[in-house]
């Protein structure tokens, strides 16, 4: 054994494994999937053992021994190891970084892979027996004792909600031996409430049966259900059957914003431990959830894209909700698609995968058409809800009042009078997207980006949405000295202010990234909306996804023109999805819903198809266009991005890459560019890109492999920040 070589994936930008000698002492045999603490360069790091080899290409005396074996057992089983190796290969990303991305942060450090536990407090026997009077004037302590009597044990998070300034009195209680600190065994907290599965409509029943029928092997099902058709109920009932068969379920959702609602529905339905994994957790909580999934204790794992890497000993089903959503794709570092990796994982594990959406991505629809995915369709809304009625409002030459046309204002009044709620969608934060000098035409620009500043009226500040830089409002025009600066264009803050004047009595609330910055703010607002305290809702895309507002009867899309004239070939797809998703918030309960779409382009084919037909009709037309233009899903893309402080460098570097590519075998691969990014400068750096396009995957990947090998030796590549994005969603 002494001559065995440990081949280890080390988190570094180098696209290879590193050979080490075993550490001086090992408590368990070396197995792939274990972590080792390693000397690396002048520091140390944690790497994952990929294989135990007999020989190294390097002479033995050049190898350094690992410092310590961190895990007695592998953290990943063979299946997960293979999936991660595949991902490293497919996305051409350094294996060490791929494996690191798959681990909870604490395990990227030296921490043992143990369930950390969440601190909580409970009464001791003495504490339980202590009478009210004996606390005397220590009211706070008495209150805590009562709370603990009532709830059994409480975590810090729960205590924060129930009691202010509890820490000092709690310390006293512990010191007196009335309360003891415990570590909660990391179990997901369960809901006190529970619900019973409602009856399914025939389409839902067919979908559940189809998922059930696929249980014993790999199969990808597209669950295409119109908004409000009860997709979640289909997941729940299909999941119930998988759980009953003794298997675990992984559910991927696009955003944390959606997880609390979904999580609640899950905890109410299932009396089993559920692990929740998303970026809103702290490192300890993440490790907890991850460990519970890995040990098999958690039967359901709900998480955002990185949850696709959660080890599961008994996987039975993977569900990807809102599979079209761009946030399932990681946009920096290891740029992977959570959805695509879920497909690969399901195939490797031999289990079914459900992709759910009201507006499936064109990639998924193409796969369905090609017969690779099986389609389950939910054409009708669940219960008594009827599909909303969509109508375009031609705002050309209409007198707009703060961006709202008379027909929309009239419809708002009408719906509010009848007791409904109104949702206005405007995907633009701030008061106004531009601040302009009325006299000389000066526009406030970000000094670090090719972008205008957004004007925030309430704070009196200018903010750049691309680099987050901020400045105070200038009192006068920096160019001509005029004081007459005017905000131009509509943002959510301006809309809120205008509606407050007209509809203040109905309660106006704005939900966007700015108004929900504070932790818990979103939940508070959502609850107030459900209590009908607010009846005019203004929101960006945050409000558009997944929420269920039963009393919303009117949805107004304030500006549908934003996505119609973009240069990104996916812009129209995203726009259509957005419109359908927002429209889907209307009329979800018994009342019928109306959707008004304001546009300057009422004859635009995209809008016409959506309004007169449906998303499917739009998608089919869009697929035809993509086929003719040989764009994805009918071709495969890889995008190389480069950025630098000096303007010429990214273009020069990418030109060099382009020349390198010419000398490599590149049959079947088109090289497009290099071109400057649509927004060339961002946060002080100039950006450019080189697009590679191929009808087949194989030649593209062969070329990438050869190119990356060449780049290892290229000194220019070390001087510039560059990245490779396989299957990019954004062309910047």
């Amino acid at each position: 054994m002494s001559s065995a070589i440990l081949r280890i994936a080390v988190p570094s930008p180098l696209r290879r494994l590193f050979d080490y000698l075993p550490p001086p002492q090992m408590s368990a045999p070396a197995l792939p999937g274990q972590r080792f603490l390693l000397p690396f360069g002048r520091g140390r790091c944690v790497g994952i053992l990929m294989e135990v080899a007999e020989h190294s290409e390097l002479p033995l005396e050049k190898l350094r021994p690992a410092l310590r074996q961190l895990d007695p057992q592998p953290l990943f089983d063979e299946g997960m190891m293979a999936l991660l190796r595949w991902a490293s290969d497919y996305y051409h990303h350094p294996p060490g970084e791929v494996f690191a991305a798959a681990l909870p942060v604490l395990l990227r450090q030296e921490r043992p892979a143990q369930v950390g536990g969440i601190r909580c407090w409970a009464l001791t026997e003495t504490g339980k027996a202590t009478s009210d009077e004996s606390f005397g004037r220590a009211h706070k302590q008495r209150q805590l004792q009562r709370l603990l009597l009532q709830h059994g044990r409480l975590t810090a998070v729960q205590l924060n909600e129930l009691s202010e300034g509890w820490r000092t009195p709690m310390k006293r209680l512990v010191a007196q031996g009335l309360v003891c600190e415990q570590e909660l065994p990391c179990l997901a907290l369960r809901s006190d409430e529970s619900d019973q599965p409602p009856p399914l409509n025939p389409a839902q029943q067919r979908a559940v049966d189809a998922i059930d029928a696929a249980r014993d092997g790999f199969n990808t099902l597209l669950l295409e259900g119109v908004t409000g058709s009860g997709k979640t109920e289909v997941y729940l009932q299909a999941i119930a059957r998988v759980l009953a068969a003794g298997r675990q379920v992984l559910v991927l959702v696009p955003e944390i914003g959606l997880t609390p609602q979904l999580y609640q529905r899950f905890t109410r339905r299932f009396d089993c431990p559920i692990a929740l994994l998303h970026s809103g957790l702290n490192d300890n909580e993440r490790l907890c959830a991850w460990s519970m999934a890995r040990s098999g204790e958690a039967r359901i794992v709900i998480g955002t894209r990185s949850a696709v890497f959660t080890p599961l000993p008994e996987p039975g089903l993977i569900v990807v909700d809102e599979e079209h959503d761009a946030s399932l794709k990681q946009q920096e570092g290891f740029r992977y698609s959570g959805r695509d990796l879920a497909v690969v994982r399901a195939r490797r594990e031999g289990i079914p995968l459900v992709l759910g959406s009201a507006t499936p991505s064109l990639e998924t629809l193409a796969n369905t058409q090609a017969g690779r995915y099986q389609l389950s369709h939910l054409p009708e809304r669940a219960g008594e809800a009827t599909p909303p009625n969509l109508r375009l409002i031609d705002v050309r030459q209409q007198p707009l009042q703060d961006g709202l046309s008379p027909p929309l204002l009239q419809a708002m009044r009408h719906h509010l009078e009848r007791g409904g709620q109104v949702l206005l969608f405007l995907n633009r934060r701030g008061f106004a997207p531009t601040l302009l000098c009325h006299e000389c035409g000066w526009v406030s620009h970000c000094s670090r980006c090719d972008a205008h500043h957004t004007y925030y009226a309430r704070q009196g500040r200018l903010r750049c949405h691309h680099c987050d830089s901020e400045q105070r409002l200038p009192p006068q025009c920096p160019d001509c000295g005029s004081l007459d600066l005017i905000p131009v264009g509509q943002g959510t803050e301006r809309l809120e202010q205008a509606l407050q004047e007209q509809f203040g009595a109905a309660g106006v609330v704005r939900i966007d990234r700015d108004s929900t910055r504070r932790k818990g703010a979103m939940d508070t607002m959502l609850a107030a909306i459900h209590r009908q305290e607010y009846r005019v809702l203004i929101g960006t895309q945050m409000l558009a996804k997944g929420h269920h507002f039963p009393d919303v009867t009117l949805v107004g899309i304030v500006d549908a023109d934003q996505g119609l004239f973009s240069q990104d070939f996916r812009a129209s797809e995203r726009m259509a999805q957005m419109i359908v998703q927002v429209a889907g918030r209307a009329g979800r309960a018994g009342r019928s819903g109306e959707v008004l779409i304001q546009t300057h382009a009422p004859d635009h084919p995209l809008l016409r198809r959506l309004v007169e037909e449906d998303y499917r009709a739009f998608a089919m037309a869009a697929l035809d266009e993509r086929r003719e233009a040989e764009m994805p899903p009918y071709s495969h893309l890889a995008l190389i991005r480069a950025e630098a402080v000096a303007q010429a460098e990214p273009m020069a570097f990418l030109s060099l890459l382009q020349q390198t590519i010419r000398q490599l075998p590149h049959a079947g691969v088109f090289v497009l560019g290099p071109v400057p990014a649509l927004m060339e400068r961002r946060a002080g750096r100039y950006r450019a890109q080189l697009l590679l396009q191929s009808a087949q995957r194989a030649p593209l990947h062969q070329l990438l492999r050869a190119l990356l090998q060449q780049m290892e030796g290229m000194k220019e590549a070390r001087k510039i920040r560059w990245s490779l994005d396989v299957d990019p969603l954004e062309l910047y």
């Binding site: 009325h438 006299e439 000389c440 035409g441 004007y455 009196g460 409002l473 009192p475 004081l483 007459d484």
Partner: protein, 106 residues
């Protein structure tokens, strides 16, 4: 080259409009209509013109409070072009002082 001063008396056309700049400075706008008899080449003649007036800041906001269409005022200030569009040289009077005639004569 610092000389730029105009004093003009006239009648306010339409009620002055006020708005606030983003930092909260009040800006009042109105149009001043002037009509008088002036001396030229030793003879009398009629002088008629209209000019936009812009009054910025709290002090001028105070002195323009309560002004209405038809009120007679004397405005002193300086001239600048109304906007920076090429080839367009409409002038606008930036007030530094606004006096009401009823206050002056009584």
């Amino acid at each position: 080259m610092q000389d730029n001063r105009l004093v003009m008396a006239g009648v306010i056309k339409k009620t002055p409009q006020c708005h606030h700049t983003p930092v909260g400075i009040p800006v009042v706008r109105f149009t001043l209509s002037h009509q008088s008899i002036q001396q030229e080449g030793g003879m009398q003649r009629q002088a008629m013109c209209q000019i936009g007036v812009i009054a910025t800041g709290d002090a001028l906001y105070q002195s323009s409070q309560g002004l209405n269409a038809g009120d007679e005022v004397r405005v002193s200030g300086f001239l600048t072009r109304a906007n920076h569009r090429d080839g367009e040289f409409r002038l606008i009077l930036h007030a530094q002082k606004i006096e009401r005639f009823d206050a002056i004569t009584s």
